[in-house]
Amino acid sequence: MSWTRISALALRYTLLYKRSVPRMIELFFWPTMDLLVWGYVTLYLQRLYATAQSPSAGMGAITFLLGAMIFWDILYRAQQGVTLSFLEDVWTRNLLNVFVAPIRIEEFILATYLVGIVRIGVTLVALIGLAWLLYQFNLLAMGFALIPLFINLLLMGWAMGMITTGLIMRWGQAVEALAWGVPFLVQPLAAVFYPVDVLPRWVQPISHALPATHVFEGMRQVLAGGPFPTAHLLWAFGLNVAYLVLAAWWFRRMYERARDKGLLAKLGTQ
């Protein structure tokens, strides 16, 4: 064993952090996001426990968690459908071949949307089946409300995917971790596993500005036996239109910037 060699290798891996802001951020990012999500879940469960009149209240919360987990996956897969499709071509050094082909950038985006739908379809079938088999949780019992709720998550996932891909296109593989990081940055704010009112008051307006928040609130409303979540769906849909327009503008801008700076070619041959 040579301490010199061990320290040389340790130095090599430490230097990576010194020169890369995204890597430094990553050190704090995941633990912080985990802490926020599980912290608010804990607060929510404590509140339920304190106010519970019967054991069935606890069961209700568990149902919410299972539903939220499946719903979250739709958002996540839709975002990944866009971002990972792009990254796949970066990783296999195929990006140049794709972008010198006679394709319009809109066609590229639509293709990644389709991939997202396929990914979601496969995941959903598996998750709904497993949840029913293992926990007797039948998500389909939510009925017709499932469809607009799913569609809204899909739309938000696509918007997030375009924003993330735009960032990767502009700043390259150094920010590749954002492909997985961006959804989890949104997760604590989107009130996925707990209602919005668990969040601090000053965070709630930010949370309400996210389409996903309205979807998850709507989901809890339906799972609790409430009425069809029309208001939440309208909010989610309106916000999604705005986010999609913004994301499309951002993506095109980043694409043009990448072409101006020669980054597509660089990214394609890295």
């Binding site: 071509d89 296999t92 140049l96 071949n97 082909a101 006679p102 020669g262 070619a265 041959t269």
Partner: protein, 253 residues
């Protein structure tokens, strides 16, 4: 020369104030193979990227097939194709899947017959069902060339297409490219650091240095102008000349 397939006039490209291409003008005629040469940093890769629509130019005009590249990018790319030693096809797909996919991207009709012919031409039909990532460098290059020819391009942009090939395969590839160019009248822009290859393949050479065209003509004309015995010697002279090379190709230092 009939109407040029490529017409580049006073092309300039700056990256955040750094000049990659200062002032480049050249034409490529129908059925002509033009070598884009120059030492590292001369601007040939940037020029190629501009022609492929991967990078936008700062000023100047780029017309291909008589159309302005900026406003007709997709239309122009439909008539071109590209192969590079530095770009790979998806390694996790089979050769046939990859080729079918690109044929689809280029809207090739009867792609099965077309691709079958190309695989045979490059003597790699037996690789059809192999996973692309498992191919040798030489095999990958030939599959890339099949992709590059799948849409019967009128203009083929080749970035060091034989860089990773052994001399035997490299020679085969050169002969096939020459044959296709003769039979189909394809125009080609060719970059390579192998000067003997450039002499053998290219009809004309555009020599770039520090983002400018310093010499243009048939390979032998360039050799004569620089009073050297081969393009390789010309290349070395240019690369080592620093700032003392004038536009006529004579060293003034």
């Amino acid at each position: 020369m009939s109407e040029p397939v490529v017409e580049v006039k006073h092309l300039r490209k700056e990256f955040d104030g750094t000049v990659a291409v200062a002032d480049v003008s050249f034409c490529v005629g129908r059925g002509e193979i033009v070598g884009l040469l120059g030492p590292n940093g001369a601007g040939k890769t940037t020029t190629l990227q501009v022609l492929l629509g991967l990078t936008t130019h700062t000023s100047g005009t780029v017309r291909m097939f008589g159309k302005e590249l900026r406003s007709h990018r997709v239309e122009i790319l439909q008539r071109c194709n590209f192969s590079s030693a530095y770009a790979a096809l998806p390694t996790n797909l089979r050769v046939w899947e990859n080729l079918r996919l690109f044929a689809r991207l280029y809207g090739v009709r009867d792609s099965a017959a077309k691709l079958g012919f190309l695989l045979e031409l490059f003597e790699i039909k037996h690789l059809k069902d192999k996973v692309t990532g498992h191919l040798s460098a030489g095999e990958s290059t030939r599959v890339n060339l099949c992709k590059a020819l799948c849409n019967d391009p009128e203009l083929l942009l080749l970035d060091e297409p034989t860089a990773s090939l052994d001399p035997d395969i490299a020679d085969k590839v050169r002969r096939i490219l020459r044959q296709i160019q003769r039979e189909k009248g394809i125009s080609m822009i060719y970059t390579s650091h192998n000067m003997r290859e450039v002499e053998a393949v290219c009809d004309r050479v555009v020599f770039l240095h520090k983002g400018m065209v310093i010499a243009e003509g048939k390979p032998q004309q360039i050799i004569d102008r620089f009073q050297r015995s081969s393009l390789e010697e010309v290349f070395i002279t240019v690369a080592r000349s620093g700032d003392v090379l004038d536009g006529s190709g004579t060293n003034t230092g």
